[in-house]
């Protein structure tokens, strides 16, 4: 089991100066891997400085673990180099594909939940873990469509992959809720269905409701149903590192720290 880091935030350039000046009571930061796969300059300058004061976890968006195309070995080497520099607590990415034939759609595309997809994924996860020298965390993604070829639930797919490939999970509570609305299931069944011992991190985020479906936008406050589901998740999983993702309409750091305070409070209540 990986350690519970507490309550963290996404590391965003808008907040670099405030973090270094105020050293807010945030337990860890999650840095977007690709933002720091650069040669030098400001991004790495600030990452190093934040790292000097806070634990860091790396969170990628371009691993494309589910792509039908071969894994990008140069990408893996770059991530490993970054990890050697930053010494993150762990490295995560998404259970999705982001493109085939060398193209990157820069989106987290859904996978069909099939035996064939599992058979494709398991050796790839192992290959990535060998290349990075550690177990990775894979995150459940939001989706707006489902494949008619799917043979199992999303949580069964996620769980079987984690158990077979021996990887860890980053459970995005917002994404579970988004998918429960988009695909019509009880989100608690998802939470109940994942192997608790493999969940190493939780994500919380805001979304936009479009009437009959929800889009995962990371641009708003966390909604009440997601807080409710978070409470349920903590009751089942106990202490798991939790962070809030905010990628658009980014407010001042203090507002996110206040929102993170709510996560702390709910977790304390649940533990009491």
């Amino acid at each position: 089991m990986v350690r519970d880091l507490g309550f963290g935030l996404g590391l965003r350039p808008d907040h670099y100066e405030a973090i270094l000046a105020d050293r807010p009571a945030i337990d860890f930061f999650e840095a977007l891997t690709e933002n720091y796969l650069v040669r030098g300059g400001k991004p790495l300058h600030y990452l190093d400085r934040v790292r000097a004061h806070y634990p860091i976890v790396l969170h990628g968006v371009s691993l494309s673990i589910g792509s039908a195309s071969p894994l990008d070995k140069d990408y893996l080497k770059s991530v490993r180099r970054l990890a050697q520099r930053v010494e993150p607590e762990w490295i995560s990415d998404h259970l999705c594909w982001t493109g085939v034939d060398g193209i990157n759609l820069h989106d987290l595309m859904p996978l069909p939940y099939t035996e064939a997809a599992l058979a494709h994924l398991v050796p790839r996860v192992r290959q990535v873990q060998d290349a990075l020298g550690d177990r990775i965390l894979l995150e459940n993604v939001s989706s707006y469509v489902a494949y008619s070829s799917s043979q199992m639930s999303e949580w069964e797919f996620l769980s079987r992959l984690a158990e077979t490939a021996d990887c860890l999970l980053l459970l995005d509570v917002n994404n579970v809720y988004v998918n429960s609305v988009n695909h019509g299931f009880d989100p608690r069944r998802f939470i109940d269905g994942v192997p608790a011992a493999r969940v190493a991190q939780l994500h919380l985020a805001g979304h936009q409701h479009h009437g009959t479906y929800i889009v995962d936008t990371h641009d708003a406050l966390i909604s009440d149903p997601v807080w409710e589901l978070y409470r349920y998740t903590r009751a089942r999983l106990g202490g798991v590192s939790t962070m809030i993702e905010r990628d658009a309409n980014i407010p001042p750091l203090a507002e996110l720290v206040a929102e993170l305070g709510l996560a702390r409070r709910l977790a304390l209540e649940e533990a009491a």
């Binding site: 040669r39 759609l105 989106d107």
Partner: protein, 264 residues
């Protein structure tokens, strides 16, 4: 359907609007089915346009949002991303902007795009440590002619023959935006980083040739010859000394390599 076929079909829907993936998706009877598929298709362009706007804010400002979005849409269609970081996407925007248009406006916009890409290139260029002028004290007099000054990895040269940089400054609120797109006499520019801040300035003709000579690895004697061609032999030594002092003070130099001993 194989995973590879499924993903190619979905990708083709995003890149080219080609239908086909829909037959593989559940819920086609839902009234919001196409809307949901379009979350991916629309999101693909929206995300890349947003990334390009972050790289090319002055270009967007100069042409206005509708034209920028249209031009970037065309670019994205012509050149899908093949980069794992979206920051690296868009280096060839300038080549796609004007479609053979040779008007002053097209020329300004092309230079503005190249200028912004160069700034982005400087922003996260390889880190190295600038050396101070004290590095010169270690050089024996007889070796001066052979000394080579290595410029830092973040140093870039740029030449404009339009008011593109004025457009850039205007977009940044650093002066009034120009009222026209115009060509003008060529100006040499130097761009680099001081600390983590990207800076630039124009270059006098003799400094431009000296910088270019230094970038190509020329020894100090050759730098002086280049400067002499511009200012005359009598003024060249003083001018070279003055330029060097400035380069050290402005954190442009990464290495000072004494040449081999040629004194015999």
């Amino acid at each position: 359907m194989q995973l590879s076929e499924l993903q190619r079909a979905f990708q083709a829907r995003l890149l080219a609007g080609r239908t086909g993936i829909e037959a593989q998706l559940a819920g086609a009877e839902r009234p919001d089915f196409q809307e949901r598929v379009d979350v991916y298709a629309g999101g693909y362009y929206a995300r890349l346009v947003e990334a390009l706007a972050a790289t090319y804010p002055a270009l967007q400002h100069a042409v206005g949002e509708p034209e920028f979005e249209r031009a970037m849409h065309e670019f994205i269609t012509a050149e899908p991303s093949r980069y794992y970081s979206v920051r690296d996407y868009g280096g060839r925007v300038a080549d796609h902007l004007t479609g053979g248009d040779t008007s002053p406006r097209a020329r300004v916009l092309t230079q503005l795009a190249r200028w912004e890409w160069t700034l982005a290139d400087v922003f996260d260029a390889v880190d190295d440590t600038p050396v101070g002028a004290e590095a010169l004290t270690a050089i024996p007099h007889e070796r001066w002619a052979q000394v080579r000054f290595g410029l830092r990895a973040c140093v870039r040269r740029f030449v404009t023959d339009t008011n593109a940089v004025d457009w850039w400054r205007g977009a940044r609120g650093q002066g009034e935006a120009p009222s026209d797109f115009s060509t003008q006499a060529a100006t040499d520019w130097l761009l680099w980083r001081r600390g983590v801040t990207t800076v630039f300035r124009s270059l006098a003709p003799d400094e431009a040739v000296a910088i270019d000579a230094a970038r190509s690895g020329a020894p100090f004697a050759l730098l002086c010859e280049r400067i002499a061609e511009q200012v005359g032999a009598s003024d060249a030594p003083l001018r070279a000394a003055s330029l060097l002092r400035g380069w050290f003070a402005e954190e442009l130099i990464a290495t000072v390599e004494p040449g081999s001993d040629t004194s015999g």
